[in-house]
Each structure stands twice: as structure tokens, then as C-alpha cells.
Symmetry: none
DNA sequence: CGGTACTGTGACAATCCCGTAACGCCCCGG
DNA sequence: CCGGGGCGTTACGGGATTGTCACAGTACCG
């Protein structure tokens, strides 16, 4: 299921929203400031960002604008949360690159509905769509992988690893990032374990010759190449 | 390696934890009460604080709350150690501003793993926008360099060096500044080492003719020219 | 036009990092 | 209860990377 980054400094609201989203089946991380959020985005590549307008330090709207400008969130949609209800603010928010705008007070139900709507709009078949690269195909629904038509067998962890790589192509991830994204945020595992699963994944991909897509970047981590 | 402040009044636990952390390569200081810890923090600026819930005098959780409120530890993560295992306590602990929570009894291995996880979550992983100059392009996200479309290969240090130069163009840096910014603050290496890596970087850039962008300023250092 | 301080260059040993194989553990199904 | 598959950890070895040095080359001074 999609993972959502909630950027909100007020604990009460944060917990209410987090609970509602988690009940709806989303994975939720949170940050309390723009700086926190920066780090969290780099670490976990959320599918959607819920952003409070009023934040300590850099304001939500400035942050949204900066994200769009830096193209960090090329494909990550942003929803603004705010107590300000004016038409003018709404426009400012959308201008800044937000994909939607939810005025406080809002009901958890309404928020979840908007999140769903935005995810549906932005990623038509959120997360569950098959991915294909250079003849290597992965289908999350049937949980199958094939290379040039031939079946490819692998374990569950390798499957999740490959899925993550294929949905974030051509980016280097260090071992800690992979652990967070594929194993889960609060799981405590040695970093070298990543190497072993990369190796197992490569071995699984070798028969169809797709193993060279998964590249080592010395001193940095691994990358699923698109070239 | 990171330095850790361990606040724990029971000698047996303290020694076990300290040994485990030191074996994992961390520098460990310890304090036996909140007052001790106050002094130690001001003195040594640890990267992480391990805090026992039950302490003589001010309790660990009060101390954690005070630290966060006084913003002494705005960016120093805190892990609470405690015998109390209730869910309610856990929430109280995280509410007080702790970054993680380890219930006793715990294995040294688990503790070390949690310390690692918190540190890697908190310490920022820099990833940024691509930079381009006169056909030379560097993308920190995919960790790739290309000159006029052709791939350019180099080692990790050369990559960091080039990234630094490209994000600070047309400025002269002496060798000490480059060591600080590219190698890291308190690393001792010979200044002439910079020369060698500049040379290696030039060699890597030579095939596409971009090596002349990296200029020597005699008696001052090096500069990445924009002209 | 020397001389001198500074920089470029190639080689080398130490170290680091990664690929690989092997091991033990846990969970499940038979 | 046993067997097997998946998983995380560890040890080892080889190759890439790194820091240092010695020497060659070069700019700048008087």
C-alpha cells in the first residue's frame, strides 16, 4: 500500500490524521518541520505528502514551492492542510504546486477521501500496476516476475527489493535507505544483509540476462539502471 | 565514529551497554544522573543520548522532556531504556520527545542495532538536484557523471570532489578547505593528497575535454571555472 | 638567468569495499 | 517430529580505492 509523509508539528492533529490514514491501510511517516521532511523524503520516497501550511521554520507553502522547483517531488503529489480558508490562499497553495488543499477543520473521513482521490489521479493504478523495463516484467498483483517471457523465480524479500528498484529506477540507494524502504523503518538488520539479497536477486535474474540492470555504485550503494 | 552519552545509574547495566557500544565502534561517555548528563552534554555534544527511565533525582522521562523543551537536543536523538513495558509508557516516552524506546531486558545486539537505526534515520543523507556546466553533467541522485552525453567514470572521492566544485563554481579553495568539505571535518590527511585527487579527477574528465575546467591557482588552491 | 617554492605525475602499500559461500536459526507444512 | 525454504549473519578473498612519497616539471622571484 502507498506510503504517506505527514508534515505537521501539532501532535494532536498529527495523531488523528495518522490513525485515520493507517486505518485506511496507508503506511504513515511523519516529520515536524521542513527540515525533517527533507530528510524523510530522501530516505523513504513517499507516494504522497500531506503538508501543514503553518510549520516552525520554513512554512509549508514555501516548502511545497521549493520541492516543486527542485523537482525532488517530480512525481510525488502534495496536499496542503491549513486553517486558512480564503479563496486567495487556496489559489496561492495550488500555485505553489500543491495537488489539493484541505481546509481545517476537516474530518478524518474527508481527508482520507482526498488522499485516495489524489493518489488515483496521479498514479492511475497506485503501486499495483505491473512494471516493465527492458523485457523484465514485474506484476505486483500476481506476484510474478518474468524476463523476456520466461518465468523468473525468487523469494519474497528479493521480490520486494526488485519492486522497489523498478519503481525507483536510476537512483542510487545506500544500504540504510534500502533497509528502510524494503525491510521497513523500524527493523534492525545489518547493512551487509542488503548485499546478500542483492546477490540473490542478481542470481535470480541471471538466467534471462537482466542481472546487469542492478548495478553496484562503489562507496554509495546500489542502482537499478535504465540504460 | 559517533559519540554516545549513556545516562544510567546502575553500574552493571552501564558496563554491559558501554562495552557493547564500544565494540561496535562508538565512543561512549556516561553520566549517572540528569545533572551529570546536563554537564556532559554541554561538554561533549554527543550524537545520541541513551537515557534510563529511572534515575536518582530527576527521572529520565522528565529529563527527556526538558531537553526537548529547552531545545538543547533539537537535533540530538534520545533513546529511552526502561523496565516498564506498557504500551502507555511507550507512548509517554515517545511523546516526551524520545526517538526510540528499548524495553528491558534487552540484548546488547538489539540495543546496538537500534542505535544504528536511529543514527541513520537522523543523520541526513544528502541528495540534490543535478548540476550542469558546459556540457558536463553531474547527477547526485543517480550518481552519474557525463560529458557531452558520454559516460564519465571516476572513484567516490573524485565524485564528491567534483560535486563540491560544481556546486561552488568560480571560487578558489585552498587544500584545507577542500579537505574539510570533501573529506570531512576532523579527518587528518596530508594536504598534498588533494593534489593527487585533483589529478585523478582531471584524468577522468580528460576524455571529454572538460579537464580544463578544474584550474590550479598557484599559491592559493584550485578553482572550478565557469568561463 | 638561477633559484626556489609550488604543482604534476607515477608507483606502491595499506586499507576498504563488495561478492560470494557457508552456517545456523526460525517458521511451517507434512 | 522432521525436512526444507527463506532469512540474517559472518568469514574470507580479491580487486578497487586511497593516502603517501619521491621525483619531475613549472611558474615566479630577485
Amino acid at each position: 500500500m502507498a506510503s504517506i509523509l505527514l508534515v505537521e508539528d501539532e501532535t494532536a492533529i498529527r495523531e488523528m490524521v495518522a490513525m485515520a490514514l493507517e486505518r485506511a491501510g496507508y503506511r504513515v511517516r511523519h516529520a515536524e518541520s521542513a527540515e525533517d521532511a527533507d530528510a524523510a523524503i530522501r530516505l523513504s520516497q513517499p507516494d504522497l505528502i500531506l503538508l501543514d501550511w503553518m510549520l516552525p521554520g520554513e512554512s509549508g507553502i514555501d516548502f511545497a514551492r521549493r520541492l516543486k522547483r527542485e523537482r525532488v517531488t517530480r512525481e510525488i503529489p502534495v496536499i496542503l492542510l491549513t486553517a486558512r480558508g480564503e479563496e486567495a490562499d487556496r489559489i496561492r497553495g495550488l500555485d505553489a504546486g500543491a495537488d489539493d488543499y484541505v481546509p481545517k477543520p476537516f474530518s478524518p473521513r474527508e481527508l482520507v477521501a482526498r488522499v485516495k482521490a489524489v493518489l488515483r489521479r496521479v498514479q492511475p493504478t497506485a503501486g499495483e500496476a505491473p512494471v516493465e523495463m527492458r523485457g523484465l516484467m514485474l506484476d505486483p498483483v500476481s506476484h510474478r516476475v518474468s524476463g523476456d517471457g520466461r518465468k523468473v523465480e525468487m523469494g519474497p524479500t528479493e521480490f520486494r527489493l526488485l519492486h522497489f528498484f523498478m519503481t525507483h529506477p536510476d537512483r542510487v540507494f545506500n544500504r540504510a535507505q534500502l533497509l528502510d524502504n524494503v525491510w521497513g523503518a523500524n527493523v534492525y538488520v545489518e547493512e551487509r544483509t542488503v548485499d546478500v539479497h542483492v546477490r540473490r536477486l542478481r542470481k535470480a535474474l541471471a538466467p534471462t540476462g537482466h542481472d546487469d540492470l542492478l548495478q553496484t555504485v562503489r562507496g554509495a550503494g546500489y542502482r537499478f539502471s535504465i540504460d
